[in-house]
Amino acid sequence: MNEWVLVIATIVGCYLLKLAGYLIPARVLERSHVRRVVELLPVALLAALVVVEAIGAGRRIELDGARLAGFGVGAVAVWRRAPFLVVVVAAAVVAAVVRAVYG
């Protein structure tokens, strides 16, 4: 894969998606069906990404103890409505410590 093509296509695509929102008339959103799909799409996408990043390793399912421990602590922090910084740091520290001790 040519990474430069991917990087440039991602940049151009992301920017145009943002700009489009300033150019599309607001009434498009008033169609409730469109609005619902647009609201729910990130939910399906983010949930899928959580799972793939937590247990996926390419085409394998990999239950890595350190990664899951860090993710688990991060998840508890999210549930307790901790600030984003706390979630990120807690997940990293727990995963790193578990890996250093048991890895």
Partner: protein, 222 residues
């Protein structure tokens, strides 16, 4: 509280968001070089794509050995939420010309959340521009730092592989609190993606979860 005090409070909160996002930028930079992108490519994504979730989605597919189409499609699908944010921000910011082009770049989760939380349009504009500025500075500095460190150290050693799913969960959580349908969609998306990991190339499980949602929505609407 006086107007000036309110305004400076908004500025302070906005910069605070920028600092918090910085840790996430470090994780992105390190993950990105671990996936095989160069330091320059990682930094360019943070400077110009400037949308964290999308950037993680793209390098996640690359790291798994997935193809370009799957990587780009995952990234752009996640980036499509910024279109919705821009539509909400447009009447608040009322920007034209060059300022509109700049506002488009800054239209992300954090700047939108901070802007729409304000009680008046002038404060919304202060919150948008200061959050955009704060996140932009910290996100890019920490991406560069993470990419440089990631070229020297395996990101797994410092636990960054656990950060990525936890950060996606943090982005998902407020949406789950919005209603029962959101929870159902999330569970369905997660189950579909998990089931497909062993059978499809990287990136496809995530895209299939989205396609299933669109299909279910179409069936219900008709």
């Amino acid at each position: 509280m006086s107007n000036a005090a309110t305004r400076s409070g908004v500025v302070r909160d906005s910069l605070g968001v920028g600092i918090a996002v910085g840790a996430y930028g470090f994780a992105f930079g390190a993950s990105s070089v671990a996936a095989g992108l160069t330091v320059a490519q990682s930094s360019l994504l943070s400077l110009l794509a400037f949308t964290g979730g999308t950037q993680f989605a793209v390098v996640g597919v690359v790291a798994g050995g997935g193809g370009m189409a799957a990587a780009l499609a995952s990234g752009l699908l996640l980036g499509a939420r910024n279109t919705l944010y821009a539509m909400r921000l447009s009447p608040l910011l009322r920007v034209r010309g060059v300022r509109r082009l700049l506002a488009a770049l800054g239209t992300i989760d954090e700047s939108t959340a901070m802007a729409v939380a304000q009680p008046s349009p002038p404060l919304a504009r202060v919150a948008f521009w200061w959050t955009f500025g704060g996140v932009f500075v910290f996100w890019n500095l920490t991406t560069l730092l993470g990419a440089l460190v990631g070229s020297l150290v395996d990101p797994a050693t410092i636990g960054l592989d656990a950060v990525v799913p936890a950060a996606f969960l943090a982005l998902l959580a407020p949406r789950l609190r919005a209603g029962v349908t959101e929870v159902r969609v999330a569970v369905a998306g997660a189950v579909i993606a998990a089931a497909l990991i062993p059978f499809t190339p990287p990136g496809v499980p995530v895209l299939t979860a989205c396609a299933a949602l669109l299909l279910a929505g179409r069936v219900r609407a008709s």
